[in-house]
Protein backbone atom coordinates (compact mmCIF):
# COMPACT_ATOMS: atom_id res chain seq x y z
CA UNK A 1 0.00 0.00 0.00
CA UNK A 2 2.78 2.30 0.89
CA UNK A 3 4.49 1.55 -2.40
CA UNK A 4 1.29 2.18 -4.38
CA UNK A 5 0.63 5.45 -2.64
CA UNK A 6 4.16 6.58 -3.46
CA UNK A 7 3.60 5.72 -7.10
CA UNK A 8 0.38 7.70 -7.34
CA UNK A 9 2.13 10.51 -5.52
CA UNK A 10 4.81 10.43 -8.21
CA UNK A 11 2.20 10.49 -10.97
CA UNK A 12 0.53 13.42 -9.29
CA UNK A 13 3.88 15.19 -8.99
CA UNK A 14 4.69 14.40 -12.62
CA UNK A 15 1.41 15.75 -13.94
CA UNK A 16 1.65 18.83 -11.77
CA UNK A 17 5.27 19.62 -12.52
CA UNK A 18 5.05 18.90 -16.23
CA UNK A 19 1.85 20.86 -16.47
CA UNK A 20 3.73 23.81 -15.02
CA UNK A 21 6.70 23.10 -17.30
CA UNK A 22 4.39 22.99 -20.31
CA UNK A 23 2.90 26.35 -19.39
CA UNK A 24 6.42 27.73 -18.99
CA UNK A 25 7.35 26.26 -22.36
CA UNK A 26 4.32 27.82 -24.05
CA UNK A 27 5.25 31.17 -22.46
CA UNK A 28 8.83 30.71 -23.56
CA UNK A 29 7.77 30.00 -27.12
CA UNK A 30 5.53 33.07 -27.14
CA UNK A 31 8.33 35.27 -25.88
CA UNK A 32 10.52 33.74 -28.54
CA UNK A 33 7.89 34.54 -31.18
CA UNK A 34 7.76 38.12 -29.82
CA UNK A 35 11.53 38.38 -30.11
CA UNK A 36 11.52 37.13 -33.69
CA UNK A 37 8.58 39.36 -34.62
CA UNK A 38 10.55 42.31 -33.25
CA UNK A 39 13.56 41.20 -35.23
CA UNK A 40 11.51 41.31 -38.42
CA UNK A 41 9.75 44.55 -37.42
CA UNK A 42 13.00 46.35 -36.73
CA UNK A 43 14.30 45.34 -40.14
CA UNK A 44 11.09 46.38 -41.91
CA UNK A 45 10.99 49.70 -40.02
CA UNK A 46 14.61 50.35 -40.87
CA UNK A 47 14.03 49.64 -44.56
CA UNK A 48 11.18 52.15 -44.56
CA UNK A 49 13.47 54.89 -43.25
CA UNK A 50 15.93 54.38 -46.08
CA UNK A 51 13.70 55.95 -48.71
CA UNK A 52 13.26 59.11 -46.64
CA UNK A 53 16.96 59.09 -45.80
CA UNK A 54 17.69 59.09 -49.53
CA UNK A 55 15.66 62.26 -50.08
CA UNK A 56 17.47 65.52 -50.58
CA UNK A 57 17.33 68.58 -48.34
CA UNK A 58 16.04 66.93 -45.21
CA UNK A 59 18.96 65.78 -43.14
CA UNK A 60 16.83 65.10 -40.07
CA UNK A 61 14.43 62.78 -41.86
CA UNK A 62 15.09 59.11 -42.17
CA UNK A 63 16.57 58.63 -38.74
CA UNK A 64 15.61 55.21 -37.50
CA UNK A 65 13.64 55.28 -34.28
CA UNK A 66 13.38 51.99 -32.47
CA UNK A 67 9.72 51.17 -31.83
CA UNK A 68 9.58 47.52 -30.85
CA UNK A 69 6.39 45.56 -30.36
CA UNK A 70 5.36 45.59 -26.74
CA UNK A 71 5.58 42.35 -24.85
CA UNK A 72 2.19 42.32 -23.16
CA UNK A 73 0.53 39.97 -20.68
CA UNK A 74 -2.04 39.14 -23.35
CA UNK A 75 0.69 38.03 -25.70
CA UNK A 76 2.42 35.78 -23.17
CA UNK A 77 -0.64 34.38 -21.40
CA UNK A 78 -3.31 34.46 -24.08
CA UNK A 79 -1.27 34.43 -27.28
CA UNK A 80 -2.64 37.74 -28.57
CA UNK A 81 0.10 39.72 -30.35
CA UNK A 82 0.38 43.41 -29.50
CA UNK A 83 0.93 44.37 -33.13
CA UNK A 84 1.74 43.19 -36.60
CA UNK A 85 4.79 43.38 -38.83
CA UNK A 86 4.26 44.86 -42.29
Amino acid sequence: MIYKSKRSQAILDFVLIFGILLVFLVGLVRIWVWFNANYAKRNADYQKTRLIAGKAYDLTAGVYIDAPLELTDDWVFKGKPSGTVK
Binding site: W32, F35, N36, Y39, Q47, R50, L51, G54, A56, Y57
Partner: protein, 435 residues
Protein backbone atom coordinates in the same frame (compact mmCIF):
# COMPACT_ATOMS: atom_id res chain seq x y z
CA UNK B 1 13.36 19.43 4.65
CA UNK B 2 16.75 19.43 3.02
CA UNK B 3 17.85 16.79 5.42
CA UNK B 4 14.80 14.72 4.49
CA UNK B 5 15.57 14.91 0.79
CA UNK B 6 19.21 14.29 1.39
CA UNK B 7 18.45 11.20 3.40
CA UNK B 8 16.03 9.88 0.81
CA UNK B 9 18.16 10.56 -2.24
CA UNK B 10 18.92 6.90 -2.58
CA UNK B 11 15.26 6.17 -3.13
CA UNK B 12 15.01 8.39 -6.20
CA UNK B 13 15.40 6.88 -9.63
CA UNK B 14 18.17 8.84 -11.29
CA UNK B 15 17.99 10.20 -14.84
CA UNK B 16 14.22 10.53 -15.09
CA UNK B 17 14.45 14.17 -16.16
CA UNK B 18 17.16 13.46 -18.73
CA UNK B 19 14.95 12.66 -21.77
CA UNK B 20 12.91 15.78 -21.13
CA UNK B 21 16.03 17.82 -20.77
CA UNK B 22 17.24 16.52 -24.11
CA UNK B 23 13.89 17.29 -25.73
CA UNK B 24 13.88 20.82 -24.33
CA UNK B 25 17.47 21.39 -25.40
CA UNK B 26 16.60 20.22 -28.91
CA UNK B 27 13.60 22.54 -28.98
CA UNK B 28 15.70 25.48 -27.75
CA UNK B 29 18.46 24.74 -30.25
CA UNK B 30 15.90 24.64 -33.08
CA UNK B 31 14.45 27.90 -31.87
CA UNK B 32 17.93 29.43 -31.80
CA UNK B 33 18.58 28.14 -35.32
CA UNK B 34 15.33 29.65 -36.59
CA UNK B 35 16.27 32.97 -35.00
CA UNK B 36 19.76 32.78 -36.46
CA UNK B 37 18.23 31.96 -39.85
CA UNK B 38 15.90 34.92 -39.54
CA UNK B 39 18.84 37.13 -38.58
CA UNK B 40 20.84 35.98 -41.58
CA UNK B 41 17.90 36.73 -43.86
CA UNK B 42 17.56 40.17 -42.22
CA UNK B 43 21.22 40.82 -42.98
CA UNK B 44 20.67 39.74 -46.58
CA UNK B 45 17.63 41.98 -46.80
CA UNK B 46 19.58 44.95 -45.43
CA UNK B 47 22.48 44.21 -47.77
CA UNK B 48 20.37 44.03 -50.91
CA UNK B 49 18.36 47.06 -49.84
CA UNK B 50 21.55 49.05 -49.23
CA UNK B 51 22.89 47.85 -52.55
CA UNK B 52 19.76 48.90 -54.43
CA UNK B 53 19.71 52.33 -52.74
CA UNK B 54 23.43 52.91 -53.31
CA UNK B 55 23.09 51.86 -56.94
CA UNK B 56 20.12 54.16 -57.56
CA UNK B 57 21.78 57.16 -55.97
CA UNK B 58 25.13 56.41 -57.63
CA UNK B 59 23.50 56.16 -61.05
CA UNK B 60 21.42 59.29 -60.54
CA UNK B 61 24.47 61.26 -59.42
CA UNK B 62 26.18 60.43 -62.73
CA UNK B 63 23.16 61.86 -64.56
CA UNK B 64 23.23 64.93 -62.35
CA UNK B 65 26.86 65.70 -63.04
CA UNK B 66 26.31 65.16 -66.76
CA UNK B 67 23.42 67.61 -66.83
CA UNK B 68 25.66 70.16 -65.13
CA UNK B 69 28.24 69.63 -67.86
CA UNK B 70 25.61 70.00 -70.59
CA UNK B 71 24.33 73.17 -68.93
CA UNK B 72 27.83 74.62 -68.96
CA UNK B 73 28.18 73.70 -72.64
CA UNK B 74 24.90 75.51 -73.25
CA UNK B 75 26.36 78.56 -71.56
CA UNK B 76 29.35 78.38 -73.88
CA UNK B 77 27.17 78.16 -76.96
CA UNK B 78 25.03 81.01 -75.69
CA UNK B 79 28.12 83.16 -75.30
CA UNK B 80 29.31 82.09 -78.76
CA UNK B 81 25.89 82.90 -80.20
CA UNK B 82 25.79 86.33 -78.64
CA UNK B 83 29.28 87.08 -79.94
CA UNK B 84 28.25 85.85 -83.40
CA UNK B 85 25.24 88.12 -83.47
CA UNK B 86 27.32 91.06 -82.29
CA UNK B 87 29.92 90.38 -84.99
CA UNK B 88 27.22 90.23 -87.63
CA UNK B 89 25.68 93.44 -86.35
CA UNK B 90 29.11 95.00 -86.45
CA UNK B 91 29.55 93.92 -90.07
CA UNK B 92 26.16 95.19 -91.17
CA UNK B 93 26.36 98.47 -89.28
CA UNK B 94 30.05 99.30 -89.28
CA UNK B 95 31.18 97.26 -92.25
CA UNK B 96 33.87 95.53 -90.22
CA UNK B 97 34.10 92.59 -87.91
CA UNK B 98 35.00 94.29 -84.66
CA UNK B 99 36.74 91.17 -83.38
CA UNK B 100 39.37 91.21 -86.13
CA UNK B 101 42.75 92.68 -85.24
CA UNK B 102 44.12 95.92 -86.63
CA UNK B 103 40.89 97.84 -86.59
CA UNK B 104 41.07 101.32 -85.22
CA UNK B 105 38.42 102.99 -83.17
CA UNK B 106 37.64 105.38 -85.95
CA UNK B 107 37.19 102.61 -88.45
CA UNK B 108 35.15 100.72 -85.95
CA UNK B 109 32.88 103.70 -85.59
CA UNK B 110 32.62 103.99 -89.34
CA UNK B 111 33.80 107.56 -89.43
CA UNK B 112 36.49 107.10 -92.05
CA UNK B 113 34.63 105.03 -94.59
CA UNK B 114 34.98 107.64 -97.26
CA UNK B 115 38.75 107.17 -97.21
CA UNK B 116 38.55 103.44 -97.73
CA UNK B 117 39.18 101.87 -101.08
CA UNK B 118 35.67 100.63 -101.49
CA UNK B 119 33.52 101.06 -104.47
CA UNK B 120 30.40 102.04 -102.66
CA UNK B 121 27.34 100.11 -101.56
CA UNK B 122 27.23 97.85 -104.61
CA UNK B 123 30.39 96.15 -103.42
CA UNK B 124 29.91 96.60 -99.73
CA UNK B 125 26.58 94.88 -99.66
CA UNK B 126 27.67 91.47 -101.02
CA UNK B 127 30.87 91.69 -99.03
CA UNK B 128 28.86 92.20 -95.87
CA UNK B 129 26.59 89.27 -96.65
CA UNK B 130 29.51 86.97 -97.49
CA UNK B 131 31.32 88.00 -94.34
CA UNK B 132 28.20 87.28 -92.29
CA UNK B 133 27.64 83.92 -93.98
CA UNK B 134 31.28 83.02 -93.38
CA UNK B 135 30.62 83.50 -89.69
CA UNK B 136 27.22 81.85 -89.69
CA UNK B 137 27.95 78.61 -91.53
CA UNK B 138 30.92 77.41 -89.44
CA UNK B 139 28.97 78.27 -86.32
CA UNK B 140 26.01 76.16 -87.42
CA UNK B 141 28.24 73.28 -88.49
CA UNK B 142 30.10 73.46 -85.20
CA UNK B 143 26.90 73.59 -83.20
CA UNK B 144 25.22 70.63 -84.87
CA UNK B 145 28.36 68.56 -84.50
CA UNK B 146 28.39 69.54 -80.84
CA UNK B 147 24.71 68.65 -80.54
CA UNK B 148 25.33 65.19 -81.96
CA UNK B 149 28.25 64.84 -79.58
CA UNK B 150 26.01 65.87 -76.68
CA UNK B 151 23.43 63.26 -77.72
CA UNK B 152 26.08 60.58 -77.93
CA UNK B 153 27.39 61.74 -74.56
CA UNK B 154 23.83 61.38 -73.28
CA UNK B 155 23.77 57.76 -74.42
CA UNK B 156 27.18 57.17 -72.88
CA UNK B 157 26.03 58.87 -69.70
CA UNK B 158 23.07 56.57 -69.31
CA UNK B 159 25.44 53.67 -69.89
CA UNK B 160 27.84 55.15 -67.33
CA UNK B 161 24.98 55.71 -64.89
CA UNK B 162 24.00 52.06 -65.22
CA UNK B 163 27.62 51.02 -64.85
CA UNK B 164 27.94 53.17 -61.75
CA UNK B 165 24.67 51.72 -60.46
CA UNK B 166 26.03 48.21 -61.00
CA UNK B 167 29.34 48.91 -59.30
CA UNK B 168 27.69 50.68 -56.34
CA UNK B 169 25.15 47.92 -55.97
CA UNK B 170 27.69 45.10 -56.15
CA UNK B 171 30.01 46.96 -53.82
CA UNK B 172 27.30 47.26 -51.18
CA UNK B 173 25.72 43.85 -51.65
CA UNK B 174 27.73 42.21 -48.89
CA UNK B 175 29.52 39.65 -51.03
CA UNK B 176 31.44 37.57 -48.53
CA UNK B 177 33.53 35.49 -50.87
CA UNK B 178 36.88 34.89 -49.24
CA UNK B 179 40.35 34.48 -50.66
CA UNK B 180 42.34 31.32 -50.59
CA UNK B 181 45.99 32.31 -50.63
CA UNK B 182 47.34 29.34 -48.72
CA UNK B 183 45.74 26.88 -51.06
CA UNK B 184 47.01 28.75 -54.12
CA UNK B 185 50.48 28.98 -52.66
CA UNK B 186 50.44 25.28 -52.02
CA UNK B 187 49.33 24.48 -55.55
CA UNK B 188 51.61 26.91 -57.36
CA UNK B 189 53.96 25.00 -59.67
CA UNK B 190 57.26 26.39 -58.34
CA UNK B 191 59.31 23.53 -59.69
CA UNK B 192 57.78 23.46 -63.12
CA UNK B 193 58.30 27.11 -64.06
CA UNK B 194 61.78 28.65 -64.40
CA UNK B 195 62.34 31.68 -62.19
CA UNK B 196 59.12 30.73 -60.64
CA UNK B 197 59.55 32.49 -57.33
CA UNK B 198 60.06 35.88 -59.00
CA UNK B 199 57.15 35.15 -61.23
CA UNK B 200 55.14 34.15 -58.24
CA UNK B 201 55.91 37.43 -56.49
CA UNK B 202 55.58 39.78 -59.45
CA UNK B 203 52.80 38.27 -61.47
CA UNK B 204 50.86 35.81 -59.48
CA UNK B 205 50.77 37.64 -56.18
CA UNK B 206 50.29 41.03 -57.78
CA UNK B 207 47.42 39.98 -59.97
CA UNK B 208 45.68 36.98 -58.58
CA UNK B 209 47.01 36.12 -55.19
CA UNK B 210 45.60 39.26 -53.60
CA UNK B 211 42.27 39.13 -55.34
CA UNK B 212 39.18 37.13 -54.85
CA UNK B 213 37.12 36.21 -57.88
CA UNK B 214 34.67 38.94 -56.94
CA UNK B 215 37.46 41.49 -56.76
CA UNK B 216 38.52 40.57 -60.29
CA UNK B 217 34.88 40.70 -61.37
CA UNK B 218 34.66 44.26 -60.02
CA UNK B 219 37.99 45.47 -61.38
CA UNK B 220 37.22 44.54 -65.00
CA UNK B 221 34.16 46.48 -66.18
CA UNK B 222 34.30 45.33 -69.78
CA UNK B 223 34.49 41.62 -69.12
CA UNK B 224 33.29 41.76 -65.52
CA UNK B 225 30.39 43.42 -63.80
CA UNK B 226 29.37 45.75 -66.63
CA UNK B 227 29.83 43.28 -69.48
CA UNK B 228 26.08 43.23 -70.08
CA UNK B 229 26.09 46.90 -71.12
CA UNK B 230 28.05 45.93 -74.20
CA UNK B 231 29.14 48.35 -76.85
CA UNK B 232 27.38 51.70 -77.26
CA UNK B 233 27.12 52.87 -80.84
CA UNK B 234 25.98 56.33 -81.87
CA UNK B 235 22.21 56.37 -82.07
CA UNK B 236 21.71 52.95 -80.56
CA UNK B 237 21.59 54.16 -76.96
CA UNK B 238 22.51 52.18 -73.92
CA UNK B 239 20.39 49.07 -73.29
CA UNK B 240 17.35 49.89 -71.17
CA UNK B 241 17.52 46.74 -69.09
CA UNK B 242 20.80 45.34 -67.84
CA UNK B 243 21.22 42.23 -65.79
CA UNK B 244 24.54 41.39 -64.24
CA UNK B 245 25.52 38.96 -61.55
CA UNK B 246 28.28 37.14 -59.80
CA UNK B 247 28.14 33.65 -58.34
CA UNK B 248 30.52 31.85 -56.05
CA UNK B 249 30.89 28.62 -54.12
CA UNK B 250 33.21 27.34 -51.49
CA UNK B 251 35.02 24.14 -52.37
CA UNK B 252 35.42 21.27 -49.98
CA UNK B 253 39.02 22.30 -49.33
CA UNK B 254 37.72 25.73 -48.25
CA UNK B 255 38.97 27.48 -51.37
CA UNK B 256 36.53 29.53 -53.45
CA UNK B 257 35.52 29.46 -57.05
CA UNK B 258 33.60 32.23 -58.75
CA UNK B 259 31.86 33.00 -62.02
CA UNK B 260 34.34 35.57 -63.35
CA UNK B 261 34.73 36.32 -66.24
CA UNK B 262 31.32 37.16 -67.61
CA UNK B 263 27.99 36.86 -65.94
CA UNK B 264 27.42 33.12 -66.04
CA UNK B 265 26.09 32.54 -62.58
CA UNK B 266 22.82 30.85 -63.49
CA UNK B 267 21.28 29.13 -66.46
CA UNK B 268 17.52 29.26 -66.98
CA UNK B 269 17.09 30.61 -63.48
CA UNK B 270 18.98 27.67 -62.04
CA UNK B 271 21.96 28.86 -59.97
CA UNK B 272 25.31 27.44 -60.95
CA UNK B 273 26.88 28.36 -57.62
CA UNK B 274 25.90 28.18 -53.97
CA UNK B 275 25.73 31.98 -53.80
CA UNK B 276 25.05 34.74 -56.22
CA UNK B 277 24.27 38.42 -56.29
CA UNK B 278 22.24 39.69 -59.20
CA UNK B 279 21.64 43.31 -60.11
CA UNK B 280 19.09 44.46 -62.67
CA UNK B 281 19.15 48.06 -63.80
CA UNK B 282 16.43 49.78 -65.78
CA UNK B 283 16.72 53.27 -67.19
CA UNK B 284 16.51 55.40 -70.28
CA UNK B 285 18.85 54.82 -73.18
CA UNK B 286 19.60 58.43 -74.07
CA UNK B 287 18.82 62.11 -73.60
CA UNK B 288 16.86 63.67 -76.49
CA UNK B 289 18.67 66.99 -76.62
CA UNK B 290 17.38 69.62 -78.99
CA UNK B 291 18.83 72.94 -80.10
CA UNK B 292 17.54 75.93 -78.21
CA UNK B 293 17.03 78.74 -80.69
CA UNK B 294 17.18 82.41 -79.91
CA UNK B 295 13.66 82.92 -81.31
CA UNK B 296 12.20 80.85 -78.46
CA UNK B 297 12.61 83.88 -76.25
CA UNK B 298 9.79 85.88 -77.80
CA UNK B 299 10.15 89.46 -78.97
CA UNK B 300 13.42 90.27 -77.22
CA UNK B 301 15.74 89.00 -80.01
CA UNK B 302 13.72 90.86 -82.62
CA UNK B 303 14.68 94.19 -81.18
CA UNK B 304 18.11 93.62 -82.71
CA UNK B 305 16.98 93.45 -86.38
CA UNK B 306 15.33 96.85 -85.96
CA UNK B 307 18.65 98.28 -84.81
CA UNK B 308 20.35 96.49 -87.70
CA UNK B 309 17.95 98.03 -90.17
CA UNK B 310 18.59 101.59 -89.10
CA UNK B 311 22.31 100.99 -88.68
CA UNK B 312 22.62 99.39 -92.13
CA UNK B 313 20.42 102.01 -93.69
CA UNK B 314 22.61 104.76 -92.34
CA UNK B 315 25.74 102.99 -93.50
CA UNK B 316 24.54 102.21 -97.05
CA UNK B 317 22.96 105.62 -97.29
CA UNK B 318 26.28 107.28 -96.40
CA UNK B 319 28.02 105.42 -99.18
CA UNK B 320 25.08 105.42 -101.49
CA UNK B 321 25.07 109.17 -101.48
CA UNK B 322 28.60 109.18 -102.85
CA UNK B 323 27.91 107.34 -106.07
CA UNK B 324 24.19 107.51 -106.41
CA UNK B 325 23.00 110.67 -104.73
CA UNK B 326 19.43 110.46 -105.98
CA UNK B 327 18.68 106.81 -105.52
CA UNK B 328 20.78 106.49 -102.38
CA UNK B 329 17.87 106.32 -99.97
CA UNK B 330 16.07 103.66 -101.98
CA UNK B 331 19.13 101.46 -102.49
CA UNK B 332 20.20 101.91 -98.91
CA UNK B 333 16.68 100.97 -97.79
CA UNK B 334 16.62 97.83 -99.99
CA UNK B 335 20.06 96.69 -98.82
CA UNK B 336 19.17 97.44 -95.23
CA UNK B 337 15.95 95.43 -95.62
CA UNK B 338 17.82 92.46 -97.13
CA UNK B 339 20.49 92.31 -94.47
CA UNK B 340 17.83 92.78 -91.81
CA UNK B 341 15.85 89.87 -93.25
CA UNK B 342 19.00 87.78 -93.34
CA UNK B 343 19.81 88.77 -89.80
CA UNK B 344 16.26 87.94 -88.69
CA UNK B 345 16.49 84.48 -90.23
CA UNK B 346 19.84 84.01 -88.53
CA UNK B 347 18.39 85.00 -85.17
CA UNK B 348 15.36 82.82 -85.68
CA UNK B 349 17.38 79.73 -86.40
CA UNK B 350 20.50 80.45 -84.38
CA UNK B 351 20.99 77.71 -81.79
CA UNK B 352 22.36 79.12 -78.57
CA UNK B 353 22.34 76.05 -76.36
CA UNK B 354 20.69 72.74 -75.61
CA UNK B 355 17.25 71.97 -74.28
CA UNK B 356 14.84 69.08 -73.96
CA UNK B 357 11.82 68.61 -76.25
CA UNK B 358 9.19 71.13 -75.30
CA UNK B 359 11.76 72.77 -72.98
CA UNK B 360 10.38 70.43 -70.33
CA UNK B 361 13.17 69.84 -67.81
CA UNK B 362 11.08 67.85 -65.34
CA UNK B 363 9.86 65.33 -67.89
CA UNK B 364 13.39 64.20 -68.64
CA UNK B 365 14.83 64.48 -65.13
CA UNK B 366 12.25 64.13 -62.36
CA UNK B 367 10.22 61.55 -64.23
CA UNK B 368 13.11 59.49 -65.55
CA UNK B 369 14.22 57.04 -62.91
CA UNK B 370 17.10 54.69 -62.74
CA UNK B 371 15.67 51.62 -61.05
CA UNK B 372 17.45 48.67 -59.53
CA UNK B 373 16.51 45.23 -58.33
CA UNK B 374 19.17 43.45 -56.31
CA UNK B 375 18.82 39.78 -55.50
CA UNK B 376 20.97 37.75 -53.15
CA UNK B 377 20.79 34.00 -53.46
CA UNK B 378 22.22 31.46 -51.11
CA UNK B 379 21.74 27.76 -51.29
CA UNK B 380 20.07 26.16 -48.29
CA UNK B 381 22.56 24.83 -45.77
CA UNK B 382 21.74 21.67 -43.89
CA UNK B 383 23.25 21.92 -40.41
CA UNK B 384 21.93 18.53 -39.38
CA UNK B 385 19.49 19.70 -36.76
CA UNK B 386 18.25 22.57 -38.89
CA UNK B 387 18.23 23.15 -42.62
CA UNK B 388 19.02 26.86 -43.07
CA UNK B 389 16.55 28.31 -45.54
CA UNK B 390 17.85 31.15 -47.69
CA UNK B 391 16.61 31.15 -51.24
CA UNK B 392 16.42 34.54 -52.95
CA UNK B 393 16.14 37.81 -51.08
CA UNK B 394 15.42 40.86 -53.22
CA UNK B 395 15.11 44.60 -52.83
CA UNK B 396 14.17 47.29 -55.31
CA UNK B 397 14.95 50.96 -55.38
CA UNK B 398 14.69 53.88 -57.77
CA UNK B 399 16.47 57.18 -57.90
CA UNK B 400 16.40 60.22 -60.09
CA UNK B 401 17.99 63.57 -60.60
CA UNK B 402 15.50 66.36 -60.26
CA UNK B 403 14.90 70.04 -60.87
CA UNK B 404 15.49 72.25 -57.86
CA UNK B 405 15.23 76.07 -57.96
CA UNK B 406 14.43 75.94 -61.69
CA UNK B 407 17.53 73.94 -62.62
CA UNK B 408 18.01 73.89 -66.34
CA UNK B 409 20.36 72.72 -69.04
CA UNK B 410 19.50 75.81 -71.05
CA UNK B 411 21.93 78.72 -70.92
CA UNK B 412 21.89 80.25 -67.48
CA UNK B 413 22.41 83.65 -69.10
CA UNK B 414 18.85 83.62 -70.35
CA UNK B 415 17.45 82.91 -66.92
CA UNK B 416 18.74 86.07 -65.29
CA UNK B 417 21.11 87.88 -67.64
CA UNK B 418 24.10 86.48 -65.80
CA UNK B 419 26.02 83.28 -66.19
CA UNK B 420 24.90 81.85 -62.87
CA UNK B 421 26.12 78.32 -63.30
CA UNK B 422 24.36 77.10 -60.16
CA UNK B 423 21.25 77.07 -62.35
CA UNK B 424 22.63 73.88 -63.86
CA UNK B 425 22.76 72.00 -60.57
CA UNK B 426 20.31 69.15 -60.37
CA UNK B 427 19.71 67.34 -57.10
CA UNK B 428 19.66 63.58 -56.59
CA UNK B 429 17.40 61.47 -54.43
CA UNK B 430 15.64 58.15 -54.02
CA UNK B 431 12.09 57.94 -55.32
CA UNK B 432 10.90 54.65 -53.92
CA UNK B 433 10.10 51.54 -55.87
CA UNK B 434 9.04 52.08 -59.47
CA UNK B 435 7.64 48.81 -60.78
Amino acid sequence: MFIFFAENRANYKKGQIFPFLIAIIVVIVIMAMITANLGKLAIFKTDVSNAADAGSLGGASVLSSFLLQIGLESDTWCANGIVLMARMASIFILGKDFTLPGISLNRALGLLWSNDLNLGPLWMFPNDLIAAIKLYVPYMIGFYFALEKAKLNGEMTWASAKQKALSSAFGNAGVDEGMNPRNKFKNYPFNALPGSYDRYLNVYMANEFNQSGFSRFMSHPVSGFAAAIGEIRPGSGSPQLITSGYGWSQNEDESFRGSYPGNIYKILNKPLYDNYVEVRVIGRSDYPFEPLTWSQFGLIPFVLPVAIYFGAFAKYLTHGLILLPFLGEIIAGIFAAIVTAFYTVVITTLPIGYTFPGRDMEKYTDKENISLKVTRYKKNTDMGIWNFQYGRVSAMSSGHTFVVNDSTIEPAFLAGLSFNTSKHLFETELTGVIK
